[in-house]
Symmetry: C2
Subunit: 524 residues, 2 copies
């Protein structure tokens, strides 16, 4: 029993928490209570009219069904309900006339009519373009059947139809009045905030991703929730996931928002709500890149920590600049401001170019020359890996210069290990604290080309064993280096996709007539 | 008017089409008509009971509201409705007693009660864990208010409550009977098929992606719908998008499926429907990689066509094997078969390893040596790009061997152009028809190392100009080569993620007790 009490307390605390984080939920509940109270008061007061109390259920039902969280939803449901009732009422009255003409066959005609109407209305509501009016079709069916059945008993088809319609109108009227007059909650505003929030989460996710990458965060065990794309506790993951997953929420909100009259800052008939969804879609397109970046962190194949540090400064810069752009646009969406005259992407493009240049200069870090078909050690000539292929001419070329220092030189230049250490020295001033210190130990500046490097010799020995495992591990090594290349490429692609976001934001800001940007110097 | 007629005809054709592609929609409509007909018949026949006709609306309403496409949805709504009505009825009867005790304050107590109930019920239904019962809360409110209001008039609280409940039970009973007995439509089956279908679409998308990549399909203008992640006409895009976007559909279906009793091939209490969603989530995690692969095709930065051909065979093999694995698992999901004793991933892992090896051997294709800080032409020594950095020792090293053939040799070996052409020759037998034929023209086998290649000279001239644009274009060139590395890495990561899909499929097949796989030799 004390368990039950504890459970109860836990739920109560959580429920309180819910109200604290979003007080609109409390307000909405109070509004609902108020609307119900009003409608029952109306029915009490109008007691003398017998009709009213008899059909009072319609008014109550309408209030409960139509009263939705946002005004757009309430309007759309109210409209659906009204239209459904009216048209069904019309059809039912027509059918009633027809039935009376049918004489003895009246019951048959009524029942057949109900079947046919049920069939066609249900079929029509499954038509994709009719989805927003699904509720209207339901109401249509209810009204039609109700008027036919109860009219048949009372023979008061018209009265039934009219009183039902009036009571529904009364219920809808009360709902709307309460919902609009008391602390209105607009779906459009929710959509607006959702889109702005998505920008912030993607920006945070991007920064988190790159800092995890540079700090070589390793997931000991990747949460299986991430692997099956379910909600998980990882903040980086949640950032982009929420942006990606908001599609259906946005769709629902935009469907309601277009019902809402001009209000607050959205003073415009036919406000371009769809453009908000478009902006969010363009952002999502960026978020997929962040997701792919995060995939590099989650992947089994990881670039060695030292090599990542080589690009630390540049990656960091792109990350900061990219996140800044996203935050800035998010802020502008929120404040409904146009972009300033300055190119918002300037800094991030510069940063990406710097990264690209660095990549260009250091791309030898991405590749292991050891396995190249060209320029490999002379041993290749003795035991060609791919006999039968068109290697002959190449081999003869290699033969020609085999054992010459040239080939060895390529090896030693490209030999990644030695270069790692060197470049780490170079970039040690950029290294964050907490990284393995052995990289910063002074090493011999460069090898003489005449002595084969130690690990090459080791490799030779290993090669003689011709073990499968070694091959795999070598392959893995090179994949691991390429993983860094992938990470940078994806990041650059991310930057490229920002253009897209800016474009769709500009379209939105034009169409929605955002205010001109305040000069930055003034603003700061 | 003829326009209107045309429009009408267009809609009619489309509506017919809808019925043809999914005949269940027609059947569902007919079932709905049947249920409505039955309920109105019942009400007609029982005419003598005045109560029934008076409250007939409840039965009709219940049928229209509860009768849903799938049985799970019908059951869940029916349960919600029943529970909501029962508990609200209980509360209302209790309140009615209380009100009568209140004497003169009766009206006040009633109205206050309605407000308080409205408030708490509305608040509770916003509690996230209560979302599946949202409809139940609505029904609770309607019932409570209705009994209070109409009971106040007629003083027949109990009778109102009981007759309402009976009629709702009648409506729900008719709905359920018709829905289950006549051509049942199960949400679980839909979920099952949806998951199996997702496998096929991702497989198709993967194949399409790689063949587009190898055939160097270029989008002249990327549809802005893809850029803003909206539904578009691109088949590759639609493949993975439908798998990614099915989240909400799956969630809805699983919520209904758990309501369904054991049936057909799902003979099991507590059937693990959630594991279908998990498998689909793991597949989605793969689909994100396909999406990233497609991103490489849509990207502005494109790898040169010739270099792609180098990897044609390997990419093709991974694509075929990967798609085969997906199709096979999709098929197994559909047939509810366990995986065989053979390692389903063997072939695709082999293919990925072959690709990785090739990448390893040819990784010089991913990089442009021209811009390397090491091994660049002697000109670097004259105009060091990064003065002030720790280049000194390197430069002295380069100086030492400047103008020697060694450095030139690196250049000519690594100079990508010449190698492109060569490797294209090598792989020309793999090339599909329809590719640019110029690549297959015989070229000089290899340059002599003493003559600087032509385009290096050209580059030299250009370098002298020291134009910003050139730098950009060079940077672009190297990025374009790296894009190929990215593509292959992403593909390999895709293969790595397949393990995940297999694992979650195995979990599903265990939990759902799939039948043992038929031996392949027997099956074929």
């Amino acid at each position: 029993l004390s368990e039950l009490w504890k459970e109860w307390k836990r739920v109560a605390v959580k429920a309180m928490e819910m109200g604290r984080t979003d007080p609109r939920k409390i307000i909405f509940s109070a509004k609902m209570g108020l609307a119900l109270m009003l409608i029952s008061l109306l029915i009490f007061f109008k007691e003398p009219v017998e009709e009213l109390s008899r059909y009072s259920v319609w008014a109550i039902l309408t209030v409960v069904v139509v009263f939705e969280f946002s005004i757009g939803a309430t309007l759309s449901k109210g409209f659906n309900r009204g239209l459904g009732t009216l048209s069904a009422g019309g059809l039912a009255l027509g059918m009633a006339e027809l039935c009376q003409l049918a004489g003895d066959w009246e019951e048959v005609v009524i029942v057949a009519g109900i079947f046919i109407t049920g069939f066609f209305i249900t079929y029509a509501k499954q038509y994709p373009a009719m989805k927003p009016y699904e509720y209207g079709f339901r109401v249509f069916l209810i009204t039609y059947c109700f008027i036919m059945v109860s009219g048949y008993h009372t023979r008061e088809f018209i009265q039934t139809a009219v009183s039902r319609f009036l009571l529904i109108a009364l219920g809808a009227g009360v709902s709307l009045a309460v919902n609009i007059c008391v602390y209105p909650i607009w779906a459009g505003e929710d959509l607006h905030n959702l889109v702005a929030k998505n920008f912030i989460s993607v920006a945070t996710s991007l920064e988190g991703c790159i800092s995890e990458y540079l700090n070589c965060v390793e997931y000991k065990r990747i949460p299986s929730k991430i692997l099956t794309y379910q909600a998980a506790d990882n903040p980086v993951y949640n950032g982009y996931r929420s942006a990606v997953e908001s599609t259906s929420q946005e769709e629902a909100l935009v469907a309601f928002a277009i019902w809402e009259p001009p209000h607050g800052p959205y003073k415009m008939i036919r406000y371009p709500w769809k453009n908000y969804v478009k902006v969010s879609g363009a952002l999502r397109y960026c978020a997929f890149m962040v997701m792919a970046l995060h995939g590099c962190i989650l992947s089994e194949i990881q670039a060695p920590a030292e090599r990542r540090q080589v690009f630390r400064k540049e990656l960091q810069r792109v990350s900061t600049a990219g996140a800044k752009v996203l935050r800035e646009i998010g802020e502008k969406v929120k404040k409904m401001e146009k972009l300033g005259s300055m190119d918002i992407l300037y800094e991030v493009h510069e940063a990406a170019e710097a990264l690209q240049k660095k990549v260009d200069q250091k791309s030898y870090l991405f590749v292991n020359s050891e396995n190249w078909e060209i320029g490999t050690r002379a041993t290749v000539v003795d035991t060609p890996q791919e006999p039968g292929s068109l290697d002959d001419d190449r081999n003869s070329f290699l033969h020609h210069r085999s054992h010459s220092e040239t080939v060895i030189n390529i090896d030693s230049i490209l030999n990644s290990k030695s270069w790692d250490n060197r470049t780490c020295n170079l970039s040690s001033n950029n290294q964050a604290a907490g990284l393995t210190p052995q990289n910063t130990v002074e090493k011999p500046k460069f090898r003489t080309t005449h002595s084969l490097p130690k690990d090459n010799e080791a490799l030779k020995e290993v090669e003689e064993e011709e073990d499968d495992k070694v091959e795999v591990s070598k392959t893995y090594e090179s994949a691991s280096a390429l993983s860094l290349a992938t990470f940078t490429s994806l990041l650059i692609e991310f930057v490229a996709r920002l253009q897209n976001v800016v474009d769709s934001f500009e379209e939105l800001s034009e169409k929605a007539k955002f205010k001109e940007a305040v000069d930055l110097s003034e603003a700061s």
